[in-house]
Symmetry: C2
Subunit: 462 residues, 2 copies
């Protein structure tokens, strides 16, 4: 909240200066802000003012701010700036950021961007663009500090001082041989601890943890988090070091993947843009397919009711308990599925734990069912029968409802934990096997159990 | 999958060496692993073997591995090791890690742990223990590199070399005055770029972004991510620098908060342990309260049906559409609520966007409703009426169902986006205003709309 207020104050003050044409004041304000904040502020201004303010930024700030802007704003800025300005921005960008930007641009702009980079950068960008979406290769940067094993600490620092300015991180240094195979890794902290004439080979860490260019970006992010690294090396098929993934990119990957999982878990197709930037039509497109599928599935549940229609006419009070039984079953199954999906995505649970998980969920389901049934039994007897004097309720009706609860919850927990694990086993995304989908299945099962038990237990319904 | 296989191979080979009492071989295997991996392997062995293997680790590895172990395993290890061994582990720990461990231990062990730390560390630990759970202060570490503004680059490197070994990160250095007020910040990268006799004050960044000890840890993590920092300074009420939060801790906070949000969004109380470590009873405890609350709420939905009982008897086919209408309403509302909760937790949407969000959701709801109603209208007419020759279905019945769909979905989207925003506004956690809760409310509204429209439109029901 404070942040927003601060930003609004800044925007007002910039507007005031703008009206008085005090551009140097605006320049001063912007120069004191972090690029992430400058970007947020620029996004609040119309195109022409934004361009004007963007041109007030230092070369370095301009590039760093550019990276933080929304793709559509980046696009409109590129359209308006000259080739020289564009080249200056591109010169300052890290290659992985340049790739991120290019991936969002229309083909004509991509051409113009590539035309304005030097040939080496262009080659690197083109190489990175070839990696599949969501692969480790697609988020790595080829700019890292590489050292040779025979170097002394002094050599290493010289090399870092000479080449480090343009690297996204200099703190983790990789030791490679002539054919770029990864031999070891060390850090600037290690270098600072050792004497100037110590040889890198003598203290570098040789058990290097790395990922492959084609590994999933989520795996890379998880490894980085697990080992508390600032950067993770990425090797190609021939085990040659081709890039690194830095912790800030891993952080973004984790947040993206979390958002994607949450969307899938709740019956939506993932969208990449932020909520307010997604158009009504795009939002509709991400939500309609699942709603349709689930609606059609739910009509099967309806036909179960139709099949039982005659008996429901004989004892209409049963209808009144359908929502409660359906909701409770759905919620129970949803709890299990969401828990398992999350545990799998954090790497806590794998298919090897299948039977352990099922056995646990069945027990949890049994206890949940039993405790809810107990509450429900008393509630039906005291409130519905005694208080509201509903004569249709008999001991057997009450029992049938509560027995249904126990059985359906055990079923719900079983299905809720099984489906995501099986989905993953056969190569599907477990996140779609979540609450809404489970609910639809559990609904049908709950009704079948309810009508089955009622028919068996309540005289006059069989 | 590969990782798991690798780990299992390692465990088998350690077991084989253990049977032949080849402890030096085991020592060699362990010494080549990363502490995070050693911890995973140790957790697979029984207490006595674990202690034996733990004692094979180097001092530094022992401490780093200890941090990665589960709290209950840490506890049993502390019980078994001598005071000397405990002191060695504690000496190597970063203070924030020591605090994390202490927070999970029973009081008697805490005493023993504190007794085995030097008085300065003990003071720091006690100070950190006082910060509220989930505050920035509770996850910070007081060990950081502080410089004075008059220092040269050479002085700075000398200081880092002398004091840096024990710091969790040395890459971000903070410039403070005599009363520990934060004057500026610089990085080792900056230091390496500058000449040895440059003065820190001349190039340090003075616009420092920081958080307060009492700020939410999630805010701190978000700031760190937004600005791509490796560490974020934390100041006390008097604006004195008291600690820093490192990126690896921020990473963990984000994952924890995501898990917590996902649990709350799906009607569970948050649990801190991983899935397989949570007992059946604890899992039951986290799931039962919400199931109970939602079950009781759903009985109100049931009583809406009871109130309409007589009319349902006259036209039983309506009952068959209740599951479809309830599920679709619930899913639509759930989509909206989850989207908004996530957007709020990522800081993309705030209460200032309230009307913009509602207006968007109403339109999305209208289009979703319209498209689903169209599909449904045709399906009822072609499948239910023509194919299955259900005579109860008339044009007006079909219309009543489809009109209900449109209205309920608009309502569901409106409620789904409103409740989380309002909850946050009045200080509640928006995540609990999620699918299951929204479903229950939308269920009741859907039925009221359905019965209302049916009564109005279908002759013989009014």
């Amino acid at each position: 909240m404070e942040m927003t207020e601060l930003r609004e104050e800044l925007i007002e003050s910039i507007e005031a200066h703008y009206e008085k044409r005090e551009l140097s004041e605006i320049k001063l304000i912007l120069s004191e802000l972090n690029p992430a904040d400058i970007a947020e502020i620029l996004e609040d201004f119309p195109d022409n003012q934004r361009l004007l303010f963007f041109r007030l930024l230092s070369k370095e700030d301009a590039a760093d701010t550019f990276v933080e802007l929304d793709p559509d704003i980046q696009e409109s800025l590129i359209h308006k700036i000259s080739d020289t300005e564009l080249r200056e921005v591109l010169d300052e960008l890290y290659i992985d950021d340049a790739v991120d930007i290019i991936e969002e641009m229309p083909a004509t702009l991509v051409k113009r961007i590539l035309k304005n980079t030097d040939s080496e950068t262009r080659r690197s960008i083109n190489a990175l663009l070839k990696y599949p979406d969501d692969s480790a290769g697609s988020i790595m940067t080829p700019e890292f500090v590489d050292l040779k094993k025979g170097m002394t600490v002094e050599d290493a620092f010289k090399r870092i001082r000479r080449t480090g300015v343009d690297k996204e991180t200099i703190y983790t240094c990789y030791v490679t041989d002539e054919s770029r195979h990864l031999l070891g890794v060390t850090t600037v902290k290690e270098l600072l601890i050792h004497d100037y004439d110590d040889i890198i080979e003598d203290f570098m860490e040789t058990n290097v943890i790395y990922v492959n260019t084609l590994d999933d970006q989520e795996l890379a992010a998880q490894q980085l988090q697990k080992y508390d690294f600032l950067a993770l090396p990425v090797v190609d098929m021939e085990e040659r070091l081709v890039g690194i993934i830095t912790v800030d990119d891993a952080f973004d990957v984790i947040q993206e993947e979390n958002t994607e999982d949450i969307q899938k878990m709740n019956a939506m197709l993932p969208t990449e843009k932020t909520y307010l930037k997604t158009s009504v039509f795009e939002t509709w497109k991400s939500r309609f397919p699942w709603l349709l599928l689930l609606m059609v599935s739910a009509t099967f549940t309806g036909s179960i009711i139709t099949g039982f229609e005659e008996k429901l006419k004989a004892l209409t009070i049963l209808t009144a308990f359908i929502p409660m039984l359906m909701d409770t079953g759905g919620n129970s199954g949803g709890q299990a599925s969401v828990t398992i999906i999350r545990a799998m995505s954090l790497g806590e649970v794998g298919f090897r734990d299948y039977f352990r998980v099922i056995w646990k969920e069945i027990r949890v389901g049994f206890y949940c069912g039993l405790s809810l049934a107990a509450v429900n039994f008393i509630k039906i007897w005291v409130v519905d029968k005694t208080l509201f004097k509903n004569d249709e309720i008999t001991l057997l009706v009450d029992l049938a409802i509560c027995l249904t609860l126990v059985i359906e919850i055990v079923f719900a927990k079983f299905i809720g934990c099984s489906l995501p694990m099986l989905a993953k086993k056969i190569g599907f995304d477990p996140a779609v096997m979540s609450s809404p989908f489970i609910t639809t299945i559990v609904d049908a099962i709950s009704l079948l159990v309810f009508f089955g038990i009622s028919s068996a237990v309540i005289p006059g319904l069989s």
